[in-house]
Symmetry: C2
Subunit: 553 residues, 2 copies
């Protein structure tokens, strides 16, 4: 912590960041350890071994086994597990957000390594942020698994055929590596879990893969992709090519075929998003030249042009291969970039010459689950069981740390004999103040439903429907649903989206807190309530009149 040390600060706890720390530790001579200090910032204190993440869905590998504590990999590195708030290149300071105390923390650096990866871009598809389950981080895999079990539990007791089909429909958006592996493991899990449910049959289950391009796995050659498509289709997975996700709601997805104007509403409780990706928020703000995907263009030495002390690698950087093509966002590339980066930082510190990144990729592998995979390794194409064995062998070898290798091997071994886990751990509470999206015509709630939320219209319009008749239309800023909460009754009218509709929903508990304690809320809510009560009375009177008139006819 003394300031006479050269401080190397790494941002990001993925392959790129963690391996840079590891290679730096390995590359240092003993006497250099007192001269150079390595720090790494990662919100999570573990590195996820991404290739195994899909297997967390099916449960063939246990959740905690696809991750490794960063401290055990980079033992001489200071780890900071906080959010990064700001990168100040001029002052050479990175600011971290607060943790237990509402205080930020400043980390000065001499060399900065930025390996912040990418994030899912929710902004393109309406409702995706609110209702789709992303598939990128470990928490996502856990959440997805829990939701799948939750819908199976509900479906098993559901007599209404429409709701039952909605519960048993699963949509995965994105036909690249991530989407294909995700849909394969999801299907695998359903197949092995279903026998535990008394009334469910696999023939009732619909699993849909959406791909906007004209084939899946564009990362692979055409023949392997075709093979993968045949395998998945045979298992019963519906692959919809040239089709994109237009919007997501709590009740399903709206999809659209390329070149068509027509939309299709697919009722589903589970919609998984694996695309599209966008650069990390902090990378977006960096004043460096970027390619069309938002990745910062770096030199073959891994540093940013004109910045000899700022290094960028992994999915947030466009690192040129020797053949001039930019490195794809894979683990094998991140690993080699980390080596080059670590070597060049040490070379800069020592005043020796830098070297250039010189890797063009060994091959490509995608698991299809259930003893099958496709692989393209040094020009050789593999598929089926042999590719699957190869896939497992390669990645198990690559997994850092003997203890995790043993744990995963044990998981795979036991999985051959023991039944799949179908437990749902209810740890994901819905937010008390949150957004919801509805497509045109979708019910927000029906007359007679349980009233457990208050809604405020943010965008679009909603019809209030009483006994089948539209009695009012709500617009921006209008509140609805407080009556059922205050009187503890069921919904006295239905609410239905007249246009694509964005709402804020406030839980009963939060609403009660706000009405009781936040100034201004009680008065304005009383006003809203009075207005609604009067409207309800007027409608009732009208209905009574109509009934009376009807009798007189």
């Amino acid at each position: 912590m003394t300031s006479d040390k050269q401080r190397i600060l790494i941002l990001g706890g993925g392959f790129a960041g963690v391996y840079t720390a590891m290679y730096l530790e390995q590359g240092m001579f003993g006497f250099e350890r007192h001269k150079y200090e390595i720090s790494l910032v990662s919100l999570e204190n573990y590195m996820v071994f991404q290739p195994f993440l899909p297997e967390v869905i099916s449960g063939t590998i246990e959740m905690m086994h696809v991750i490794t504590p960063i401290r055990r990999l980079a033992k001489r590195t200071n780890l900071h597990t906080r959010e990064i708030q700001k990168i100040d290149l001029a002052r050479k300071i990175v600011t971290l957000g607060p943790e237990f105390q509402p205080k930020t923390k400043e980390l000065p650096f001499d060399h900065l390594v930025i390996a912040l990866g990418s994030r899912l871009n929710y902004d393109i598809v309406p409702g995706m942020r609110e209702h789709a389950i992303p598939f990128k981080y470990l928490g996502d895999a856990l959440r997805l698994r829990n939701v799948i079990v939750q819908v199976l539990e509900e479906a098993d007791n559901e007599d209404d055929p429409v709701e039952r089909q909605r519960l048993l429909t699963f949509i995965v958006g994105g036909g690249g590596f991530s989407g294909v592996e995700c849909v394969a493991e999801l299907h695998d899990f359903l197949r092995s879990a279903l026998p535990a449910y008394r009334s469910l049959k696999m023939s009732e289950v619909r699993v849909i893969l959406l791909q906007s391009a004209d084939r899946i796995l564009p990362e692979l050659g055409e023949s392997l992709a075709a093979y993968a498509q045949t395998i998945l289709t045979k298992r019963g997975i519906e692959i919809r090519l040239n089709t994109r996700l237009k919007s997501v709601t709590a009740n399903g997805a709206v999809i659209q075929a390329k070149g068509s104007n027509g939309e299709e509403v697919v009722a589903a409780r589970v919609v998984v998003a694996t695309v599209p990706s966008a650069p990390h928020r902090l990378v977006e703000q960096l004043p460096f030249e970027k390619d069309k995907n938002g990745r910062v263009i770096v030199l073959p030495e891994i540093n940013v042009p004109g910045q000899s002390h700022v290094w960028m690698l992994g999915d947030c950087a466009a690192v040129p291969q020797p053949d001039g093509i930019m490195s794809p966002p894979t683990a094998q590339h991140a690993l080699r970039q980390a080596k080059t980066c670590a070597d060049n930082i040490l070379a800069t510190l020592r005043g020796t010459p830098l070297k250039r990144f010189s890797f063009t990729g060994l091959g490509k592998l995608a698991s299809l689950g259930h003893y099958s995979a496709v692989a393209e390794v040094m020009g050789i194409k593999l598929r089926g069981f042999i590719a699957w064995l190869f896939w497992r062998a390669i990645y198990l070898t690559k997994f850092p740390g003997f203890d995790r290798k043993l744990r995963i091997f044990t998981d795979w071994f036991l999985d051959e004999f023991l039944p799949r886990d179908i437990t749902e751990v209810r740890i994901f509470r819905p937010e008390s103040v949150t957004r919801e999206h509805f497509h045109t015509g979708e019910p927000v709630f029906d007359q007679g439903d349980v009233g457990d939320k208050v809604y405020v219209v943010v965008k679009g319009e909603a019809d209030v429907i009483f006994n089948g008749t539209t009695v009012a239309t709500l617009k921006h800023g209008e509140v609805f649903g407080e009556m059922a909460l205050i009187s503890d009754h069921s919904r006295s009218a239905a609410l239905r989206a007249k246009t694509p509709l964005d709402l804020i929903s406030i839980s009963r508990e939060a609403f009660e807190q706000l009405v009781t304690h936040l100034p201004g809320v009680k008065a304005s809510m009383d006003e809203v309530l009075q207005k609604h009560l009067m409207a309800a009375k007027a409608i009732e009177a009208e209905v009574r009149d109509q009934v009376t008139l009807g009798r007189m006819d």
Copy 2:
């Protein structure tokens, strides 16, 4: 699902409920399966094997292995995983809360088995609900483990000795079985995890067990309790007898010795609550006679007096043993009660005579972690390693299902060789609208802190302090902290509890949503902001005057 079947409805997915279902299934003759229908309601779709729950904290058993899917244990039972909203004894209907759709569900019954267990009673200790981590359910164990890792991560980089000690202090409330096993495993985990943290030493760690009685483990004989106390004290755990938790805040606990008026504030980030317990909310509402602990007094036949079709067992019922003493709330009693209950339900349906509950307990076991335990079995007292081996053997045998036995055995085996897991999975997001408690004199925030929340005073008073001087005192309904949020700046003044203080805190995100969209909020917040800005200006002017005056002196 046809109504000519006799419907047995079980509420509760703990030992008592699940074993009742299992014994019912086992006890039925083949032809009876079409006559009787068993349903079980449990919010979680798994049963927790409570004796192993503390080991989830230390990580010797993996989280998912201490639970078993209920569907795999009771294969011919309909499982409903929803919250129970209402028990209507007169109409013989149980109403379940909504899940995906905002609709309730009604389950009619002919026989009702109530096995809802107990819950932690947060109402007695101020701040416990808001700031203590309960230790009762699986989610609690996971949350506790995550928080422990989180404080270690922070402590490793903390230079301020006061905050560092606060981060490294762990308080467990309750010296019964649950509290003792919890504190032992917590200490075990710290000891094995600490070597991974570069700057932390075990000598800095404080682990405190609070017990309001004059000895720990009141469930056991005095000599074994004394032995346990010696073992735990030797390991470095501070046992505070005759001491109770008076209040809990985000920064620590206020404790008080029996018979003393003085309070002691112990700074800590982790406070675990294992007591006190109270009856389930639904049991509280039942019109049956209860004992002083709120348990419903039942007949030795396990049914409620005067109700031949309502059965109650487990922790929510006072079931008399043959010796007249009420059964203690242990798994072994729940299991035997379930057998009697199932047999008597079948006997009632068949019209054969009922039998009485005839079990008085086999013994008592408490693990002290790290190869040590205490046991009292059929009059024989065991302690140390032999008791520990006995503990593991007994409970492994009792764990239902071969697959879980094998998984746990594998966990124990691998734990002997492999390092403990120190990963923290950040899945617990703080609520956007929540309550916070502060004791007298405690800072809510300091001048210059990051402003990430708005506060509303619910109860008590808070001083606004600017440059060391109290400039205002806030009371019920007053808002504070919106200035830093709106201007995106740091706190311009400090806020400190003048009395015990209850606040509502609203996150930046939720506050922005509410101000933008909820009618009335913007206007009243503008008013508050204007008032605060004017006050700030007045204070600034005053400070300037004082400085000027000071110069003239």
